[in-house]
């Protein structure tokens, strides 16, 4: 059996890692990482806007027959509903639940509000999603008391934004996040240094971030349900079963996570996809939809001053078989060119004359920069048109001007 000794392990890592690497620095002193998570964020925002929703089972997500639950209130969770569940199934579990479509714009607004409060107080923070934050509080214990400081921050967020928030405080991102999960709803949880294992071991392996359906299933087949069991499996065996991921699993089960709190994440790709209300064979409609998605994404590209070099088309047939195809292209943010490539790729990837459930577009390989105008392909008129369209979209809103073909794609 592998005996885990943190002292030896740390020295070993110190020895292994490059001295200039960021990880080394962290090992030299005790870390304190705070994880903050807004409780059922979308629902909380809706309740804030309309107090009638308070205390009722509320579902937010696609309202059509094939929509999924994006967020649900704790009252709804009592019926066994969870996010990412098909809306149809959720309504079967709780026919009286209120369903609303949700308003992404106001969620981003509230998320921004919370971010501002945290940014004002925190020495270093990472916004890892719309409703989750990591804060690096290393070195603050002596002067402020990390737990006390975190409690005050939480109260401040609740008071100023009106949204319920939970936190977990521990020695690294992993344990803090699991801690938050245990404290919910509207709670706080501290896992003291040295007690990580006591805390983790009785929990289900499902609670470890990064263990999804597939890994969980495989672990279950191996008879592993509790984190403690996982921690007792030799690292070699895990590596044999899970490849590279095995070592990470082993580390996670021991509460080891050296990933730093990174204040800024570079965007690596941008994408859009759409599930049709009904599976379709209507080629024209699908093409118009693709054009609309490319148009929107290309506008975002230009607004962020980015260029893409890889475009991908994704389709899902009615039988859930999903195919993607990508193409390397010269750096561009010109919608005309992008539409041409996307439609060509679509023709190639759509080779079974079968009903389609979903189509999507992704731009990756992003770099900062502006579109290099071409001498022969672009006319001055087209460039002007693109500039003016962007200007109108910026000033009056993205849906105020669009291609005629995109009109029909509106719901």
């Amino acid at each position: 059996m592998v005996v885990y000794n943190p002292q030896i392990y740390r020295k070993y890592r110190l020895y292994l890692s490059n001295y200039s690497s960021i990880f080394t620095i962290y090992i030299l002193y005790d870390r304190a990482v705070l994880h903050l998570d807004l409780d059922s964020f979308f629902v909380s925002v809706e309740c804030l806007k309309n107090s009638d929703f308070l205390g009722k089972p509320l579902l937010i997500g696609g309202t059509s027959a094939r929509g999924v639950v994006a967020s649900c209130s704790y009252e709804a969770r009592r019926f066994g509903i969870h996010s990412a569940m098909p809306m149809k199934m959720a309504l079967r579990l709780c026919p009286d639940a209120l369903v609303i479509r949700g308003d992404m714009d106001s969620y981003s607004k509230y998320s921004g509000l919370v971010t501002d409060i945290i940014a004002e107080e925190a020495p270093k923070y990472e916004k890892s999603s719309i409703d989750e934050f990591y804060l690096d509080l290393s070195g603050m214990d002596k002067y402020f008391g990390c737990f006390k400081w975190s409690k005050e921050l939480r109260q401040k967020v609740i008071k100023e934004s009106g949204l319920p928030i939970s936190f977990g405080l521990s020695v690294n991102k992993l344990v803090s996040k699991i801690g938050t999960g245990e404290s919910k709803p509207n709670g706080e949880h501290q896992v003291q240094r040295g007690t990580e294992k006591q805390f983790l071991f009785p929990l289900s392996v499902k609670k470890i971030p990064g263990i999804g359906k597939v890994t969980y299933k495989k672990l279950s087949f191996m008879g592993v349900r509790k984190i403690e069991t996982l921690s007792n499996i030799p690292i070699r065996l895990l590596e044999r079963e899970f490849g590279k991921h095995g070592k990470i699993l082993w580390e996670k089960s021991h509460g080891i996570d050296e990933s730093p709190v990174v204040p800024y994440h570079e965007q690596k790709s941008m994408s859009k996809e759409r599930t049709f209300k009904e599976d379709t064979l209507d080629l024209n409609h699908m093409k118009n939809m693709l054009i609309k998605m490319v148009d929107d994404l290309a506008f975002d590209l230009r607004e962020d001053q980015k260029l893409t070099s890889t475009v991908t088309v994704k389709i899902r047939y009615a039988d859930f078989n999903t195919y993607t195809k990508q193409r390397r292209i010269p750096y561009t943010s010109n919608d005309q060119l992008l539409i041409k490539h996307i439609l060509e790729i679509f023709e190639k990837v759509y080779d079974r004359r079968q009903l389609i459930r979903l189509i999507g577009v992704k731009f990756s390989g992003l770099v900062s920069g502006s579109y290099q105008i071409s001498l022969f392909d672009d006319t001055e008129k087209e460039i002007r048109l693109m500039e003016q369209r962007d200007w109108i979209k910026r000033r009056f809103g993205q849906d105020k001007i669009m291609r005629a073909s995109s009109l029909k794609t509106k719901r």
């Binding site: 770099v367 579109y371 290099q372 071409s374 001498l375 460039i383």
Partner: protein, 371 residues
């Protein structure tokens, strides 16, 4: 059948001819040099079907014959021999080749000369004569601006437009364009051909100083002859884009600037631009130019003011610094002008005074800057 030759003399020729030997050819025979001996003259030929290089050399031979010899082995052998006569003999039946030097014997197997591709036919050609230095100049000014896009095959070559008494070289990759013409050429007609850039770069490196070069061309090939060497390049059979139509004629915002100052400033600023897109911004005001670049990913930024003459509208125009640096790098005159119209239209770079019998125009497309 054998001949005697100086190792260094042979090496010089082999190195030139080796340019057309591709490392991974479609036909195995293309890995060979074709050696042909006639009246004490050795003709060495290599080809990759697109480019053919021929070079001649005087030797002492006992008969007329030809043989194909594997290029890499032969070249490596000759390279490692000192200046000394060597004897190469060939077996008439097996085409086995034996090289005899002062140190010993080296045997390698040759191939049947009949398998080597035939020379392209040289008929219906037009001829012009041009000075080798002028030709080299034309190539230096244009080759860098050609495209690598195989989907637009025409732009992967340099356009030779022969127009009675002048020859115009044009190259473009849709983002930059160079038009360079040389006068004082004698030609009986006007025509234009597209010559692939690979062969031209080989040619450029082999061109001698100040010699006469004959360019003979027909529908399919161009035959370039100088001294004892010939290049035969297969022309690109495609339509060249109408480049004259895209060169603006009404660019009224003129920036006059010293080339080397501008170039060294750009080189410094470009260090701070994004490594993939290399974009810099020229901020033009009344007799002032500010060049700046930003790399948001690393929060690097730089800007410089340089002296210039500018009387046009104030404007901000973005360019790929790499293109500008390449273009300014091949220009020779010190005083240059950049003529612009607006931030989305092509800018033109020209020397203030054209060199006699030359006319040079460079064009660069800006990058679109929103906000």
């Amino acid at each position: 059948m054998k001949f005697e030759v100086s190792a260094t003399e042979l090496l010089k020729k082999l190195q030139v001819v080796h340019g057309a030997v591709s490392s991974n050819p479609v036909l195995p025979i293309l890995e060979d040099f074709l050696f042909g001996i006639k009246k004490n003259t050795l003709t060495i030929r290599s080809t990759n079907l697109e480019t053919t290089i021929i070079s001649k050399l005087a030797v002492v031979a006992d008969s007329n014959f030809s043989v194909a010899i594997p290029a890499t082995i032969l070249l490596n052998t000759i390279k490692s021999l000192p200046e000394h006569p060597i004897t190469i003999s060939v077996d008439e039946e097996t085409y086995g080749v034996t090289i005899k030097s002062q140190y010993g014997k080296y045997k390698l197997s040759g191939d049947k000369p009949e398998d080597f591709p035939k020379l392209p036919e040289r008929d219906n050609t037009n001829e012009i004569v041009i000075n080798s230095s002028s030709l080299a100049n034309g190539l230096t000014h244009t080759l860098f601006a050609t495209s690598n896009d195989e989907l637009r095959i025409a732009m992967t070559g340099v356009l030779f437009q022969i127009d009675y008494n002048k020859i115009i070289f044009v190259a473009t990759d849709a983002h930059k364009l160079v038009k360079y013409s040389i006068g004082n050429i004698e030609s009986e007609e006007s025509s234009s051909i597209i010559v692939p850039k690979k062969g031209l770069s080989l040619l450029k490196n082999a061109l001698p100083d100040d010699e006469e070069v004959t360019l003979a061309y027909n529908q399919k090939n161009i035959f370039i002859d100088f001294k004892d060497t010939s290049y035969i390049l297969r022309l690109i059979d495609a339509k060249y884009p109408d480049y004259n139509a895209v060169i603006p004629v009404d660019n009224n915002n003129v920036l006059s600037i010293g080339r080397s100052d501008f170039l060294s400033s750009l080189r410094r600023i470009a260090i701070y631009a994004n490594k993939t897109t290399n974009q810099v911004v020229l901020n033009l005001g009344d007799n002032s130019l500010n060049i700046s670049a930003k790399d948001l990913d690393f929060s690097n930024e730089a800007n410089e003011d340089i002296s210039c003459e500018y009387g046009g509208e104030t404007m901000q125009i973005g360019f790929n610094a790499k293109f500008l640096i390449e273009m300014l790098g091949v220009l020779k005159p010190e005083e240059i002008q950049i003529e612009m119209s607006n931030p989305t239209r092509a800018g033109i770079i020209v020397p203030v005074e054209q060199i006699e019998n030359e006319n040079l125009l460079m064009l660069i497309m800006p990058v679109m800057r929103s906000h």
